[in-house]
């Protein structure tokens, strides 16, 4: 039997660390990288007698998320204690939400694949709830003992749970990426995966198409999109092989080992904790007024889905371009700033030119330099200045690449007119003077009789060679369209 005889079913649980300055139930800082236990307050280390006080900023962010995905923001939700013992869990319980989460339902539209095979899909969300993070156990460096760092204990998390709507690792990754982009877009999470600000657990099962759901195994703590893909791919194949070899899947929690690319069992269902959830008597039910939700809604920036639709409808961009330009908050902001600076009117060629340059030359250069677009040495207004000169025929696309390289190197100053300064300083203005072009053409034709003969003998390629010679002789400044037209006229005369 082949892989095609199986349907893969995936649901994701994502822990997004909320970017509040202080912890969810204490006033201690959440900044990353401090000395161990330097950011652990009396509440975080669970001294006798201390009590939690909810951070309103964490609630605000949960509401923002709920509004952004079109979910129900619960007017009343309840914090519950999840009881288990572990040295980096100071209270012996984690404060979380269980029966009544703050965000219920909602959906995210994802775009999967490239080119002709690309398709859109809507993933339904089950819920998102607020909870506190645990500390860290450090098992190295202590000579047979373990160190406990409670700086992370009490950091606010939003646990975002999807329905089992994904049918491939590609869909799972597309969903995770879309979610990652969204939480950064609405500024509730910094999305730093290396620092653990965005962690994925994947629930994976396989079944016969149309059949009942298979038994799932949960892959814990995947902190990169690549690991997410690798782990799911391995797990799916393992489950298929196991079943086809006559085995059965046991519900379990597994870990992914990036070194081997394999998943291995951490604990079976039989070993699963009984967390003894019950409402935390130290915290009142979380009551969110309609006014609060309305205020958050009114302050919500344009969301990626809406912006994508606008780029298609208003500027005539392709769905692919619009999706790429809205894949991250920073790219979208750059493009939007560029449109404004270039005064790119719908119907003009500017929106498409801006898109091409953002996703093309700029993206490539940023990639080579390993530079974030937010830190781009070429400001949106500067790139807009360049694109405007292409649009008005001052320079050709080829010359524009030269100008861009100069912009990247900081030539032309820091102003929006940097491209103009470079064009002027280097004399790169395109020549539209037909007399000048004609004399260049005459020189080229005289010096390349062989190509002229070949063209007249029916070799079309010879024409391109002649165009290239003319452009070269003009140092790229001749208007290519004009060159084409005039050369053709002379040769056919």
């Amino acid at each position: 039997m082949s892989r095609n005889d199986w349907e893969v079913v995936i649901g994701l649980e994502v822990h997004a660390q909320l970017n509040t300055a202080s912890k969810i139930f204490s006033a201690a800082s959440t900044a990353f990288g401090a000395e161990p236990n330097a950011q652990a307050s009396a509440v975080d280390i669970a001294l006798p007698g201390v009590l939690p006080v909810l951070n309103g900023g964490a609630v605000e962010r949960a509401i923002r998320f709920g509004v952004a995905i079109g979910a129900t923001v619960a007017s009343k939700s309840v914090f519950a204690r999840k009881n288990y013992f572990y040295p980096d869990l100071p209270k012996g319980y984690q404060i979380s939400q269980f029966e009544l989460p703050v965000v219920q339902g909602g959906a995210i539209t994802i775009r999967v694949g490239d080119g002709d095979k690309a398709y859109e899909k809507t993933v339904q969300l089950t819920r998102a709830h607020l909870e506190e993070d645990a500390g860290k156990s450090l098992h190295e460096d202590f000579h047979g003992m373990s160190g406990i760092d409670l700086n992370r204990a009490g950091t606010p998390l939003l646990e975002i749970v999807s329905e089992p709507d994904m049918r491939s690792s590609a869909e799972a990754v597309a969903y995770a990426r879309a979610l990652h982009a969204l939480v950064r877009w609405i500024d509730i999470c910094d999305g730093n995966m290396q620092e653990g600000s965005f962690r994925c657990d994947a629930n994976v099962s396989v079944r016969r198409p149309g059949g009942p759901l298979g038994t799932r195994r949960e892959i814990k703590n995947l902190n990169s999109f690549r690991f997410l893909q690798q782990a799911i791919d391995f797990e799916v194949q393992w489950q298929i092989d196991t079943i086809e070899d006559g085995g059965r899947i046991q519900q379990a929690t597994v870990l992914f080992d990036p070194d081997t690319g394999e998943t291995r069992m951490m604990r079976s269902k039989e070993d699963a904790h009984d967390y003894r959830y019950f409402p935390d008597p130290d915290l009142l039910p979380l009551v969110i007024s309609p006014e609060w939700i309305a205020r958050v809604r009114s302050e919500m920036p344009e969301l990626p889905g809406a912006m994508k639709a606008r780029l298609v409808a208003e500027y005539g961009l392709s769905a692919y371009d619009a999706a790429s330009l809205t894949a991250s908050k920073e790219v979208a902001a750059y493009y939007q700033a560029m449109l404004t600076a270039a005064d790119a009117k719908p119907g003009s060629q500017l929106p498409k030119l801006c898109a091409n340059w953002t996703m093309g030359e700029l993206a490539a250069q940023l990639n080579r330099a390993e530079c974030d677009i937010a830190d781009s040495p070429v400001a949106p207004a500067q790139l807009a200045g360049l694109v405007q000169r292409i649009a008005d025929g001052t320079i050709s696309n080829n010359i524009a690449r030269k100008v861009f390289a100069a912009l990247w190197n900081g030539e032309g100053g820091t102003g929006a007119d940097a491209a103009d300064r470079i064009i002027a300083a280097q004399g790169l203005r395109q020549t539209n003077d037909s007399g000048a072009i004609e004399s260049i053409i005459d020189e080229v034709l005289a010096a390349n009789q062989k190509s002229v003969d070949e063209f007249r003998a029916g070799k079309d390629k010879a024409f391109n060679a002649l165009v290239g010679q003319v452009m070269k002789a003009s140092r790229g400044k001749a208007n290519p369209a004009q060159v084409n037209e005039m050369l053709k006229r002379k040769l056919e005369a």
């Binding site: 006798p48 201390v50 009590l51 909810l54 013992f85 040295p87 008597p281």
Partner: protein
């Protein structure tokens, strides 16, 4: 001076008849002399007390004294005190020095009160006799072979024996009112949320409430006024304007000061189970209330008999979780030897906790377990709502509810140690009040067999502390039960 009321002590301090240092020394010397036979204190902080007393004297000299400046008191060892041992009556915390003050402790420090030390208690406030203390039982000053009640037994015994004029306590199911009754002092547990729980080591968070002990309702009113108030660090603290709980007490004594007060008598609190000597004292006290102008009406709390089972589901459930932090990892007792993490936990907790604490952790873990939660915890929460509704219905026909605080007088040490259910039943009249979150007060109302004190419990609607204190105060103006002292304080 040892039998003086707070008002008298205030006057003496203000008039310079005695300094705060002299007053503290007087009580510290009594503690040194008498506490070996009472075991009311776990920690006596002579140096800290004298330092605080000197500061109080400086405030007095500067004319900056408040109502409690220079007044000695003691804290139940459930309240965290910075730099002072805070054991909660447990081996688990026998070495724990808190790095911070509980909200109540810092309020009283700021008021200039002088803490003499930390009082004995049932381990983690679990018990009705003080026999569950790792530091040995506190004794009843009226008969040192008897228990003083619990869990705030040390505070009650200390006030009864005049080792200190006033003391703090906590009340989860009767832990202020019951020991107050058994030792012949006055104790009040306010409405849940009136006193901040920050720094008060949690037993059952939804029931725990700080309270006050004194010789009289007037003394309790002054202490409660200083302890109460909104605290943003406790999410269950109620954001209300500060109250002066003494405000109704200043009105001059009249012939019938309680005219118009309707006292409800729940028939469930006067049935079988109440000892005859307690009944006689309670009935006599009610006669006195009627003589003061109050009328009595029969009311009913039909679900009151369900309070104990509901309590012994909810309180252990919360306790099992609250006590999880005592794991030997960061502070407190850790076993000397262990092979691995699981054994470190199990040995540290097996060694650190006493039998009653373990029993409640086990019960609480059980009732929260998968498959039992609905049957026990949710059912108990439903009962809790019914009990609260009963009180509201009863209070619709009366102003306050009265009855015995405890079904018996103080029993002998060891008498009920082997029978936890008998022990639990001693809180039968007090527990429902915590489940409803209402304020309750106990004041001395006579003596039973063997010259052992009997307490009368008054329960009112939410935030009716001032009314309860005023009723008890009028009773105390017309009687002298609260002025009787055990021989040890004579």
């Amino acid at each position: 001076m040892i039998n003086a009321s707070l008002t008298e002590l205030r006057a003496a301090l203000d008039a310079g008849k005695i300094s705060s240092v002299e007053l503290a020394t007087l009580f510290l010397d009594r503690i040194e002399r008498l506490d070996p036979s009472l075991n009311a204190f776990i920690t006596v902080d002579r140096d800290g007390a004298l330092e605080a007393a000197r500061a109080a004297d400086a405030r007095l000299a500067a004319g900056d004294a408040g109502p409690l400046t220079g007044i000695p008191l003691a804290h139940k060892d459930v309240f965290c005190t910075e730099g002072v041992l805070t054991t909660c009556g447990s081996k688990m915390l026998a070495n724990f020095v808190s790095p911070y003050d509980a909200h109540v402790v810092s309020l009283l420090k700021a008021a200039g009160a002088v803490s003499l030390g930390k009082t004995n208690m049932d381990e983690f406030a679990m018990g009705s006799s003080n026999e569950n203390s790792h530091f040995g039982p506190a004794k009843n000053p009226w008969d040192t072979t008897r228990i003083p009640g619990g869990s705030s037994g040390g505070s009650a015994a200390a006030v009864a024996a005049r080792l200190v004029p006033i003391a703090t306590g906590t009340d989860t199911g009767g832990s202020v009112r019951q020991p107050a009754a058994l030792t012949g002092v006055t104790g009040i547990k306010p409405t849940y949320g009136v006193v901040s729980r920050y720094g008060m080591i949690a037993y059952a968070s939804s029931l725990d409430q700080g309270g006050a002990f004194g010789a009289s309702a007037a003394d309790c009113a002054q202490l409660l006024t200083a302890m109460a108030g909104f605290d943003p660090r406790d999410s269950t603290s109620l954001e209300r304007p500060a109250e002066d709980y003494s405000r109704e007490l200043a009105a001059p004594a009249a012939g019938r000061p309680l005219a118009g007060l309707r006292i409800g008598l729940p028939k469930e609190f006067f049935g079988a189970g109440m000892a005859d000597d307690v009944r006689a004292a309670v009935e006599a006290a009610l006669d006195e209330y009627r003589a003061l102008g109050a009328t009595t009406v029969d009311v009913s709390l039909p679900n009151a008999q369900l309070a104990i089972p509901a309590y012994y589901v909810i309180a252990p459930a919360e306790a099992s979780s609250n006590l999880s932090r005592f794991d030997g990892v960061r502070y407190g007792h850790r076993a000397a030897e262990y092979r691995d993490l699981a054994e470190m936990y199990s040995k540290s907790r097996a060694e650190g906790f006493g039998a009653e604490v373990k029993r409640r952790i086990l019960v609480g873990t059980y009732v929260l377990s998968h498959g039992y939660y609905d049957a026990y915890y949710l059912q108990a929460q439903k009962l809790r709502r019914l009990i609260a509704q009963d009180f509201q219905a009863a209070l619709a026909g009366c102003d306050i509810i009265a009855g015995p605080t405890s079904p018996t007088t103080a029993w002998a040490i060891g008498e009920k140690s082997d029978d936890p259910v008998q022990m639990y039943l001693s809180d039968i009249y007090t527990i429902a009040v915590n489940l409803a979150g209402l304020p309750g007060l106990s004041h001395p109302c006579g003596f039973g067999a063997g010259e052992l004190p009997v307490g009368l419990q008054l329960v009112g609607d939410y935030f009716s502390e001032a009314r309860l204190l005023n009723a008890a105060h009028r009773f105390q103006q017309a009687s002298d039960w609260h002025l009787r002292r055990p021989a040890i304080a004579a």
